[in-house]
Each structure stands twice: as structure tokens, then as C-alpha cells.
């Protein structure tokens, strides 16, 4: 990763010196070595503090929404960031010429908590190679299976390489189909058990709205759920169900499965399980790819004359 990181810095520096972009968004050092944070390089020197390693967890696309107001923005973009940018472009929230995208292929980001748990001690660095991940700790260098180290969203990633990039560092990895088996697991539960499962999840929701803040699809100027007739302020079970039902429905067909909402949720609510349920039904009923790559019209913005009526197969575990 280091040579890509060097080329990234060199590109950022050139863009900033030539004034091609007003700010370059990437990652910079965080409080801990294995938790880099989003970093906004506003001048050529700051470009040298950009870093790109196996711990860069946050999605960068959504930051573009505020930054473009003052001028063109450059950023580094992995597959999920690329899809997030496409979502903003498709929703006319950002114009393509305002962006300079440095694309990189990503084989997965390490979840520092998981890595430390697996290694049994603090993990300084990591290398993701194919099916295994090498964790470098102060005392040793051992390799573990991907499932033990990577973020959830990376384990199910189907878009390693961004489709839109002004320049691509490293070679592209073709996109795949998203695995939605985890949705079947919930579907198989009897309906009362399923209800208790979701009621327990939603009871933990603080309504901190972090999921809305990080989501490229939740890019509205003002959210309808902020209006009293739709949702009161309380956190009773009715309000929780209304919030999570409406959020999931509003991103149905538009969610790009970047996994940020689930990662950002402080209460650890499996929001991906909600988004993926809509994605699975869109795929099974209307043949929409999972996730739907943002194009001109979203799946719920059109119809086919012979669309099936998906409400017939009632009964347990559908």
C-alpha cells in the first residue's frame, strides 16, 4: 500500500498546488495507529499527511456533499466510496465536474477491535492478501482468516473497485453479486420470534441519526421524519418502528450497500439486514441487481407492464 500511498500524496499535492481542487479528502493519522480518520488536506503541504492503509474504515463519499459548496473537491475512493459518489451524482446533489476522484481497488479494511481480539494484543499494522490477513503486533506477525479480521461491510463487499475514477491506482477488480444469505436466516424465523428480534434491536436505537448522517442515499436537504406529523421526538417502540421502517423504505432501490450505516451505529443495530431485505426482494421480484448501480431512474421510479404481485406468498418464513 505504501507506493500507492506515495502516488496518492503526489497527486493530491499536484492538484492542490495547481488549484485544481480546493480540498483533497483522504485519511490522516487518528488518535491510535490502527484508527485513521478522514482528513481534509487544504494546502499542498497537508497532502503529505495523507495515508492509505488497511485500517481506513470510514466512507468518504458523503463528506463531498458539504465540501463541494465552496469549490471543486478531490478525494481518494475505494469501491464503496465510488458507489456513494455515483449515488450523489444520480440524485443531482453533486456535479461530476466538481469532483476529482483518485480510485483505488480495495481488498478489505481491518476492524481494529476484531483484529486485536484475534491477535490477543494490540495490532500495529496489517496486510490483506487474498483469503488471509497478516496482523503485525509488537511481538509477532501472524495470519488469520478474513472473517476474523475485516469489517462486516468488507466481508460482503461486491464492489472492490470504483466505477468512476479520474485516475485509478492499481488494477481494477471486477464487481460481483452481493451475497444476501444473512437475510434468508432472518426470514426463516417464525414471525413472532422475528418480531421480538427486531423489537429488541429497535429498543436500543438512540435516534442519534448517525445512520442518516453517513448514508449517501440519505442526502435530502430536510428529512420528512423531522416533521412532527410523521415522527414525534419520543423513543417509544412505535416511533422506533416508524423511523426504521421509513429509513429502510426510503433507501430501497437506492442503497449502494456501502455498509456505513451499520458501522456508524453506536447501538450496533444490524441496519444492513433491513437494507438487504429490500435489495433481495427487488432482485427476486423485479430482477434489479443487488445493489442497484445508480443510473438514470431508480427501480421504484419505474415499472414493467408484467411486474409480479409480490404480496401473494403470505405465510411463515417467506
Amino acid at each position: 500500500m505504501s507506493d500507492i500511498q506515495a502516488r496518492l500524496r503526489e497527486i493530491a499535492r499536484r492538484l492542490l498546488t495547481e488549484g485544481h481542487v480546493r480540498v483533497f479528502i483522504g485519511f490522516g493519522p487518528g488518535f491510535e495507529a490502527n484508527r485513521p480518520v478522514p482528513f481534509f488536506a487544504a494546502d499542498p503541504d497537508a497532502a503529505d499527511r495523507l495515508l492509505l492503509d488497511e485500517f481506513c474504515a470510514a466512507g468518504l463519499a458523503r463528506y463531498v456533499l458539504e465540501e463541494v459548496r465552496e469549490g471543486p473537491v478531490g478525494l481518494v475512493a475505494r469501491g464503496c466510496d465510488g458507489l456513494g459518489l455515483e449515488r450523489l451524482l444520480a440524485d443531482h446533489r453533486v456535479a461530476r465536474e466538481q469532483l476529482y476522484v483518485v480510485g483505488v481497488s480495495c481488498r478489505g479494511v481491518v476492524d481494529p477491535d476484531r483484529a486485536c481480539a484475534a491477535a490477543g494484543e494490540e495490532v500495529r499494522a496489517a496486510r490483506v492478501n487474498g483469503e488471509t490477513v497478516t496482523l503485525i503486533t509488537p511481538t509477532a506477525e501472524r495470519s488469520f482468516p478474513r472473517s476474523a479480521c475485516l469489517l462486516d461491510k468488507c466481508l460482503r463487499c461486491q464492489d472492490p473497485t470504483p466505477r468512476i475514477a479520474d485516475v485509478l491506482l492499481g488494477e481494477a477488480i471486477p464487481p460481483g453479486e452481493r451475497d444476501l444469505a444473512h437475510v434468508d436466516a432472518v426470514e426463516r424465523m417464525p414471525s413472532d420470534e422475528r418480531y421480538r428480534f427486531w423489537a429488541r434491536q429497535f429498543e436500543r436505537c438512540l435516534r442519534c441519526l448517525a445512520c442518516r448522517q453517513v448514508c449517501p442515499a440519505c442526502n435530502c436537504v430536510s428529512c420528512s421524519l423531522d416533521r412532527p406529523e410523521w415522527l414525534e421526538r419520543g423513543t417509544g417502540l412505535a416511533e422506533q418502528f416508524m423511523f426504521h421502517f421509513t429509513r429502510a423504505y426510503h433507501v430501497a432501490g437506492r442503497c449502494v450497500a456501502c455498509g456505513e450505516c451499520e458501522r456508524a451505529c453506536p447501538a450496533g443495530i444490524p441496519l444492513g439486514l433491513l437494507n438487504d431485505k429490500f435489495m433481495k426482494d427487488l432482485r427476486d421480484l423485479f430482477g434489479v441487481a443487488a445493489p442497484h448501480r445508480p443510473g438514470d431512474v431508480e427501480p421504484l421510479g419505474k415499472f414493467c407492464p408484467d411486474d409480479p404481485e409480490g404480496w401473494h406468498e403470505g405465510g411463515e418464513g417467506t
Binding site: 440524485d91 443531482h92 446533489r93 435530502c220 430536510s222 420528512s224 410523521w230 421504484l300 419505474k302
Partner: protein, 657 residues
């Protein structure tokens, strides 16, 4: 909090019979915002409406809820009554306590509880309403008539005579449509061209009718009062302004081509007109059959033309027109030959359809009016007419009756007798349908005087035997199978919609039935209107019909257009969508769901936001659901109002709404 008045109607016994109206009135009085609650025996009557008007004045009401019959019955009545008392008509709501409550439930207690809930919902909605003003839309007092047959011409004449501009678009190079192909017409046997050609001349000369022949409608946008229509003029390869109509080109043109106008029994030239009396009397070049276009040679027409009117470089031109109303009069077609293998239709030359028999009868037709067999030109001594070929045949997808065949076949049999006195006509029929004025008498004359033999039964097969056509049918009245060795077989084929009827219907956003005939707004009450306001129907485009009905319907459609043009402005329902620009993110998720393309872009400050054209919007509300941020609201059915209704409907009775 708006001051709301509730009036509960007894509807004589209809509501009061099952619903305890006094209890409903008492419950209404206790609802928040309700300052007046009353019940009355017949609220829709004059005194009933007076009661509303007085209540509005005395109690200074801001909204009125009437618990009575279905809104489709008297919503307009009560809204007009409120408007007369100075209250905005759109602040009147109806609680349907008759059709959906007292008439369908027996238990008095349950029905009353439901009636209270329905009133409660309407009161909740009324509390959240704001006054709405009806929309005023401009009217372009110019009509478009599509189709230059008898229907289109009649409609165009009526509208133009009333002083308005008319644009008449006809796909063929000449006016006349289907009727131009007919010889005589029933029941009076007066010749079709004698009544048609003067009319075509009149239309061509009319100062307020602009004739666009050899043209097609390609696109229709806009709405009633302001339609934007794109009309393409196909290349005729002859400059009609320079041409003087001498027809030398048609005379000298070496290329003979089977003429569809003559049902491929006669020939036309590669350049020319469909029939001698065509109006406008201007030729066109048939590109597929012109030697110049095929091999680049010939050009005889260019050499003989005295005014150099031939222009091979002519291209299709398209023009955009603004019109206020559209009359569709595109007529009908006859069944394609391929569908009846057992009659050898399209395979044996002496099995023809009735339209071809019309051409044989026509003095300007291929045989100059003498009935001759297409195979060898001999005058047929035995002619068999077969009815219901393709009609009344659900097994082959067309269960309807084509209505006019019984009459034109009787006419054919009579004309055949006039021209071939010793000839014998056989008519295989199932039921003779002659319901018009003087029609039945006409058919009886055919049987009695023309000596046509009517055989009740369908024909199973027609096949050649020697040089004649053997027809194997049945006479169900005598219970015998019947064989006739006919010289000529004439099939009364089904009237079917034009080939491109469905495409034009989609352009106009007018519905069609399963076969492709256009849907009228209401079969009995609004037969000449469509569900799309400002678009009207005339003639066989709506269903098979004869000339007299077509002309009557054309005048009917014209009167509807005149009614539209007579108003200063068009009053449109204000229940349309509106964008709250402070909330709109400009994501345009609303635009693809709008069936009327009513949503477009507007710049607000530094952002692009959505905006709704009130004229185009018909108020379906699909965009209000597609809009995630709640910026799109449908007046009269806003989210707040519907949510309030839902909440009110779910309340256990007794607790305050």
C-alpha cells in the same frame, strides 16, 4: 383552530334507518374544532342547503363536514352551496355514511359507531385544510381534427362554421377516408361520391380550416386548452404549390402498381392520385414503386411536367402547432386476409372482401362499375355473400358485431341484381341486424325485389371446383347442409381498428379496449368524450358504426369543442401537486413517476428544484409518495390530512380526536 360545522343527513330513512343520527350529531358537537352540529332530514334539498348557508354565516364557519351520501353524489352540490355563502368550496368534506355505512350494515350500534368515526376523520381532515382557488388556464381557441374522412370533415366544418380555426390532419394525400371507396350508401342508395365530394371541396375551401393532408401526428404534449402537437408532412416529391393538377405525370408514368385504394384489384401509377375526384387534386410519388427511386432512371414525370413541380429531394417536414382541443376521427380498417384459411381469403382471386366489391361497383373503380370476377373478368351469375367473417367470433379473439355488414351486404345484393338481372345472390347470415331508420325495410326490399336468397347458417369451407368456387354451408332453418357453386364469393369481413390505432392512443394518452377501439368517457352519458379532458372521439375510431351515426357523433364532438372554446378561461381542479422549495433537494425522484410529465426544473437561489405545471398535473399523487423529503404535497390530500384521517379512524370511540 378553524371553526368547523357538521351537518348530519337523515336521507329520509336511508341513513336514519340504521344510523342513530342524533347520537352522531351529539358526538360531532364534542369533537375539537366543531362549533356547530345539526342533523336534517334531506340536507341535499333546497332547505337543507339553506341550513348550511345560514350556519356558515351565523357561526362564521371556516369549514363544513356533511355526513351524508357518497361524495360522488353531492360533493359538488354542497361545495356550491358553501361557495354561495362565501366559504371556500374546497373546505367542505363529505363523510360517506350512507353507501359505505347505513346501507351495508344492519347492526344499529355498530353502524352508529362507524358513522361517528367517519365524521371524526373528516373533521380531522377539515381542521388541517387551507382554502384552495380553482386554477384558471388559458384556452387556445383552435381545434385539431385527426382524420379527414366523413367524421373528421363534419367535425371540422361544424367547428369552423362556429368561427374557430381548425387544423385538419389526414394521413392520405386526399380527403374522403373510407367513404371515398364506397359506391352507393344504404339505405337510400345515393352514390357516396355525390354526397362526399362536395363536402371535401367545401372543407378544402373553408377559410378557417387549414388542411394538412399526407401528414401524421407524431407527438402530443400539453393539456386541455394548450396542447402542443408535432405534425409531420410526408414527402410527396411533388411541389404542390407549383403543381396545377393537370395529371399529365400520372398519365405518362410507365410504372403500374396495384392500388390499395382499389383493394389491389385495380392499378395506379407510381405518381398520381387515389381517385379522379380527389381533393386536394395533387399527386404524390409512391417511393417504393418508383423506378427513379429504385434504379435512378426514368424521370418521365419530370420531363412531362409543364411547371417542373416534381422534386425528388423533398424531405419530411415537421411543424409544431398549439391547439386547445383535439377530435380523433381516424376511422377503421378491414380484417387482414391471412386470418381465414378455410375460405381461401387472400389465396383464391375470386374470394374478395366487401370493400373490394364496393370498388367493383364504383364507376371510378377498376371495372368501371361493371361487376366482373377478378380472376377472368367474367360477369358472375352466382354470387355468395358470407356474413360475420371475423366478427362475433370470440374463438378468434373478436366477439363483437361489426354492425354495418348486414346493411352493406343487403345493399350489395340489391346493386348486384340491378347490374346483373339474371344473377342470383346468396347471403349466408346468422342474424340480420338492421336497426336504423328505414334499414329493415331496405333489407326486406332486397329479399323481395332483388330476389336474394338469405340462408341462415355459417359457411364451413370455400374451395375451387373447376373454374367456380364451391361454398359448403348450412341452412339451419331447414336443417340441411347446402352447397353453392359460386362464380364470386364476397366476405363481409370484420371492422377492426386501424393498424396504428394503439400508437396514436398512447400519444394522446387515451385508453383503448382489448381490440384497439378508443374508450369513451362513459358509454351512455359521455359517448363523444374521452377520460383525457379536451380530447374527443368521432366515428368508427370508437366502435364500428355507419355513416349517419358517424356524422351525428362528429357534430356531437364538435359541440363539445365549442362548449370548451366558449369559456373565457378553463377552470381546472386545484387538487394538484405543489413543491415546498425550502425542502426540495432537487433529486428529482418525483419526475419519473409522473404520468403527465408535469414536473420540470426551476432554479431557486443557487439550487435547481422541482416545479409542477398545474395545468398538466391531474392530481394522482404518485410524486408525493416518491418524494422522500416530503417536499411534494398534493393539495386536498396532503400527508398531514391523510395521517389525521387515519388516526381519527383508528380512535376507539368516545376519546377526543
Amino acid at each position: 383552530m378553524p371553526r368547523i360545522g357538521v351537518v348530519v343527513c337523515w336521507c329520509g330513512h336511508n341513513i336514519a334507518g340504521t344510523v342513530d343520527v342524533t347520537q352522531v350529531t351529539a358526538a360531532a358537537a364534542a369533537m375539537p374544532g366543531v362549533v356547530y352540529a345539526e342533523d336534517y332530514k334531506y340536507v341535499c334539498s333546497e332547505p337543507g342547503q339553506d341550513l348550511i348557508r345560514r350556519a356558515i354565516a351565523d357561526k362564521r364557519l371556516d369549514a363544513v363536514v356533511v355526513a351524508a351520501c357518497s361524495p360522488s353524489m353531492h360533493e359538488a352540490t354542497f361545495r356550491q352551496a358553501a361557495a354561495a355563502a362565501g366559504l371556500n368550496p374546497y373546505r367542505v368534506e363529505i363523510a360517506n355514511v350512507r353507501e359505505q355505512c347505513s346501507w351495508v350494515h344492519r347492526d344499529r350500534e355498530e353502524a352508529t359507531v362507524k358513522a361517528v368515526a367517519l365524521v371524526q376523520a373528516m373533521v380531522a381532515k377539515a381542521r388541517r385544510e387551507e382554502p384552495l382557488e380553482a386554477l384558471r388556464l388559458p384556452v387556445t381557441r383552435r381545434a385539431l381534427v385527426i382524420g379527414g374522412g366523413i367524421a373528421g370533415m363534419q367535425a371540422a366544418m361544424d367547428i369552423a362554421d362556429a368561427g374557430y380555426q381548425v387544423l385538419l390532419v389526414e394521413r392520405e394525400p386526399n380527403l374522403g377516408g373510407r367513404m371515398a371507396q364506397l359506391s352507393e350508401t344504404f339505405p337510400t342508395l345515393d352514390c357516396a361520391s355525390c354526397i362526399l365530394t362536395p363536402r371535401t371541396a367545401e372543407v378544402a375551401r373553408h377559410p378557417r380550416i387549414e388542411l394538412l393532408t399526407y401528414s401524421e401526428v407524431r407527438e402530443v404534449a400539453g393539456y386541455v386548452g394548450d396542447f402542443r402537437v408535432r405534425i409531420a408532412r410526408k414527402p410527396a416529391y411533388v411541389d404542390w404549390d407549383r403543381c396545377i393538377g393537370c395529371m399529365l405525370c400520372q398519365e405518362k408514368c410507365p410504372r403500374k402498381v396495384p392500388s390499395p385504394f382499389e383493394r389491389d384489384m385495380g392499378f395506379k401509377k407510381a405518381i398520381g392520385v387515389n381517385f379522379p375526384q380527389a381533393v386536394p387534386n395533387r399527386p404524390v410519388i409512391d417511393r417504393e414503386h418508383c423506378t427513379y427511386f429504385e434504379k435512378g432512371k426514368c424521370q418521365v414525370c419530370v420531363r412531362v411536367c409543364p411547371v417542373e413541380a416534381v422534386d425528388f429531394e423533398q424531405r419530411e417536414t415537421v411543424r409544431e402547432e398549439a391547439v386547445g382541443a383535439i377530435v380523433v376521427a381516424t376511422g377503421f380498417d378491414v380484417l387482414a386476409p391471412a386470418e381465414f384459411g378455410e375460405y381461401g381469403y387472400g389465396r383464391y382471386p375470386d374470394v374478395i372482401d366487401s370493400l373490394a366489391f364496393e370498388r367493383l361497383n364504383s364507376s371510378s373503380g377498376p371495372t368501371g362499375g361493371v361487376i366482373r370476377r377478378p380472376s377472368d373478368g367474367r360477369v358472375p351469375r352466382e354470387v355468395v355473400f358470407i356474413q360475420c367473417v371475423g366478427s362475433r367470433d370470440p374463438d378468434r379473439g373478436r366477439g363483437y358485431c361489426s354492425k354495418i355488414c348486414c346493411m352493406y351486404t343487403a345493399k350489395h345484393a340489391m346493386l348486384y341484381r340491378h347490374k346483373v338481372p339474371d344473377g342470383q345472390a346468396y347471403v349466408f347470415y346468422m342474424d340480420v341486424r338492421a336497426g336504423g331508420k328505414g334499414y329493415e325495410e331496405f333489407v326486406q326490399r332486397t329479399v323481395e325485389q332483388a330476389g336474394a336468397l338469405y340462408l341462415r347458417g355459417r359457411v364451413a369451407r370455400v374451395y375451387p371446383e373447376g373454374d367456380r368456387m364451391l361454398v359448403r354451408g348450412v341452412d339451419t332453418l331447414s336443417g340441411q347442409t347446402v352447397e353453392v357453386a359460386a362464380d364470386l364469393v364476397v366476405l363481409a369481413t370484420a371492422a377492426v381498428p386501424r393498424g396504428d390505432a394503439r400508437e396514436l392512443a398512447q400519444l394522446l394518452k387515451v385508453g383503448t379496449d382489448a381490440h384497439g377501439f378508443y374508450n369513451e368517457a362513459h358509454p351512455k352519458l359521455r359517448p363523444v368524450e374521452t377520460m383525457t379532458r379536451g380530447i374527443f372521439l368521432a366515428g368508427a375510431v370508437q366502435a364500428p358504426r355507419d355513416i349517419s351515426e358517424t356524422v351525428a357523433q362528429a357534430s356531437g364532438a364538435a359541440s363539445k369543442v365549442l362548449a370548451l372554446f366558449s369559456q373565457e378561461e378553463l377552470v381546472a381542479d386545484p387538487l394538484v401537486a405543489v413543491v415546498d422549495e425550502t425542502r426540495c433537494a432537487g433529486c428529482f425522484l418525483c419526475r419519473p413517476v409522473c404520468p403527465y410529465q408535469a414536473i420540470s426544473t426551476r432554479v431557486a437561489g443557487n439550487r435547481e428544484v422541482a416545479t409542477v405545471n398545474p395545468g398538466l398535473c391531474q392530481g394522482c399523487g404518485a410524486c408525493a409518495v416518491a418524494c422522500r423529503s416530503g417536499a411534494m404535497a398534493l393539495k386536498g390530500f396532503t400527508d398531514e390530512q391523510i395521517l389525521a384521517e387515519v388516526e381519527a379512524l383508528c380512535l376507539r370511540t368516545g376519546s377526543p380526536g
